[in-house]
């Protein structure tokens, strides 16, 4: 990105403008392009997909009216939300109330800066990339707490407090689960972590050792908790706290909360893909065209990220919500000790096999494949036994 701007400056596109003015302007332009051209469509599509996946699991049909198969439903909802009155309660702390959704959205938008969509498509390959993500994600907790407090509503307050407790607690297992990968690569840069992996599953860090395998799922669970997804959606638990921190919000501010929620869902999947699934890595040598290569890499990265997004949707449709105390005990009694075990275990593993164990990755790939096959056979068995009345036509 920087080299691209440097090239433009050198070719004299900006005339005599100083480089200090060109950099922020170009960054701003590029950021808006990313936000409006990629993130917003991504979020609306994710919301639509979630609703469709969810309704299939629940033997419903889901939104299928606006646009082909209802893909434009998010657009319709967005327009509706813009047209709604933006109510600020009299008793609310007005500045905080108005500001809170923006903070939340910043928190997730800023993470897109370091997500590498392909070998060339990354806004900034920061050398503290992963650390930056863990730091910036915590902004959303501030936003939620702010919304809960400023609404001057007891349900909102409870939701905000719950969210603060949850995010602060789960930052720790999430951070601990990142550390094995950082140990293995010796870098915090997202591009560096991807380059340390290969395109084949046995080159991924997910299958590097049993410890990284566990770390991946510990991170995923913590990330679900940080993004308030079921079974950790207790900050907005609709059957307990009405709508939690979002109770008093309406109009587009309300929509911003959901933009952030589904946006961070994709961010979670992207981080999982970067850390454990080899990111954009594809087999090399079959093309010399950089553009084609980057598009293929983008598609591969997208699919890997969306696998985790889909898993989160599936989990949401399957599991009930856990209680606040159970959430806390899961974090401090199980995930945090597990994180330390993974960290020490990975270190020991690296001392014994500095280049990685030659057989374990293959064994783990085979074992995982076997598990997946067994799982789908079981699903088939249950489907046959239950004689479900489902629509098998995906075009309904």
């Amino acid at each position: 990105m920087q080299s691209f701007i440097d090239g433009l400056i050198a070719s004299g596109v900006f005339g005599g403008l100083p480089a200090e003015a060109v950099y922020p302007a170009m960054m701003f332009l590029f950021a808006s392009l990313v936000v409006f051209g990629f993130v917003l469509p991504l979020v609306t599509i994710t919301i639509w997909l979630e609703r469709r996946v969810w309704s299939r699991i629940q033997s419903r049909v889901g939104p299928n009216r606006v646009g082909p198969q209802g893909v434009l439903q998010g657009l319709a909802d967005g327009v509706k939300n813009i047209l709604k009155e933006d109510v600020v309660p009299d008793a609310a702390d007005r500045p905080l109330f108005v500001f809170a959704p923006y903070l939340l959205v910043w928190g997730f938008l800023a993470t897109f800066v370091v997500i590498p969509f392909s070998s060339a498509l990354v806004v900034a390959d920061l050398n503290v990339g992963i650390l930056y993500i863990t730091a910036i994600v915590a902004l959303s907790a501030v936003g939620v707490l702010m919304a809960g407090w400023a609404s001057n509503n007891k349900w909102s307050l409870l939701g905000g407090i719950r969210s603060a407790a949850q995010v602060v607690s789960y930052e720790i297992p999430a951070g601990l689960a990142l550390l094995p990968v950082v140990l293995l690569t010796g870098t915090l840069s997202t591009q560096g972590i991807i380059q340390a992996q290969g395109w084949a599953p046995w080159d991924w860090f997910l299958f590097h050792s049993p410890f990284t395998f566990i770390a991946a799922f510990a991170f995923y669970i913590s990330a679900l908790a940080e993004t308030n997804r079921t079974p950790f959606d207790i900050p907005e638990a609709e059957s307990e706290l009405v709508a939690g921190f979002a109770t008093e919000y309406s109009g587009f501010r309300f929509a911003l909360f959901f933009l952030a929620e589904w946006g961070s869902l994709y961010v979670t999947g992207a981080i999982m893909a970067v850390l454990f699934l080899g990111g954009w890595q594809v087999p090399t040598g079959w093309t010399n065209n950089t553009v084609v290569l980057n598009i293929v890499q983008l598609a591969v990265f997208f699919l890997k990220a969306y696998f985790w997004v889909f898993l989160a949707m599936w989990i949401r449709a399957t599991l009930p919500r856990i209680r606040v105390d159970q959430m806390m005990s899961l974090c401090w009694k199980y995930l945090v000790p597990l994180g330390f075990v993974n960290l020490v275990g990975t270190a020991v593993w690296m001392v014994i096999w500095p280049e990685g164990n030659p057989f374990v990755p293959y064994l783990m790939v085979i074992g995982t494949l076997a598990l997946v096959v067994i799982f789908f056979r079981r699903v088939l068995y249950h489907l046959r036994r239950a004689k479900p009345e489902l629509y098998f036509n995906p075009a309904i």
Binding site: Q58, K154, E238, V242, R316, R321, R323, H382, A386
Partner: protein, 384 residues
Amino acid sequence: MSLAGYEFEVQRDDGLATEEMTLNMGPQHPSTHGVLRFVVKADGEIMRTALPDIGYLHRSIEKISEKVGYHGFMPYTDRVDYVSAMQCNQGWAMVCERAAGIEVPRRGEFCRIIACELGRIASHLLSVGTMVMDIGGMTPFTHAIREREKVNNLLEDLCGARLTFNYMRIGGVAWDLPPGYAEQVTAFLDRFEPFIAEYNDLISYNKIYVERLANVAAVSKEEAINYNLVGPNLRGCGFQYDVRRDEPYSIYPELDFDVPVGTGEVGTLGDCFDRYMVRIKELKESCKIVRQCLDMIPDGPVLARVAKKLKPPVGDAHVRVEASRGDMGWYVVSDGSEFPYRTKIRTGSFSAMSIVDKLSRGIMIADLIALIASLDVVAPEVDR
């Protein structure tokens, strides 16, 4: 009683003064199952007390009976407990028959029991479905509602209505079973009985679900009797009492069915999970009863000849029916005119509300939701 009458002081070791938070849960709250209101005093997430404030759905149904006469009151009984209106129909019909000394034709009794047990299946499906939804699982709810739709279709075939049936009449039922009804019901039951096992696989023994319900708000047998819990709430405490079996009415003595009780299989006896599980098991028993009725049903009329202006002799009558929410008492006093002098309905949800305050002390806000859901409270039945 003043709702502000309960004041708790929070003592802290470091001498800092804290206040308890008063939360108004309801009347418009997603999980109070209608317009119920709870005034919750909470210390953070821990509740000190939750006082039910009832009366938001009071429609003077008992008073209405004094103005519309015996026959005319039948549609109103649907509204006593609109989730399982059949048993309310049956209660009113039975109390009037007892007051006036009317004999119901045998086929009419069978029609009633088939309708009632289908209604019980519908009601329990709604109960177990919303219970999971209150805990946070969305999918089992839609699956339960999908099956309930089929019951509603069957009941629609029977009486033309899906919610407020108005099917029964004093002296029998309004219509005979439609042609081919037995086959339809059997087909449904054949599909439905495996569904119960499927539902258990889906959610009942889910780890998170069990953790949320086990050991929450356990009621002992003595407590349940003292607080007058009835129906599945009472049986969930391990006390085997069912009006259908212990004070038999209609044709229940001829039928063979079990009375499932709570076993404390995952935690304390009488906790939320036991109450939930009793309902799941009762689904099976209801299927059994419907099958037997379809086998045994005789031919003949379904409605006895009853005077258009029914004037029971001076006196009173009381019956108890096992409604979906337990022992429902119907009491009517007749002064010999065509209007009841006084009607009294005693419902299970109303007495269940009295124990909420006691059980809610010291549990978490999320547990209160589970508690209300497991008591299967239906707001119109509380207030009538």
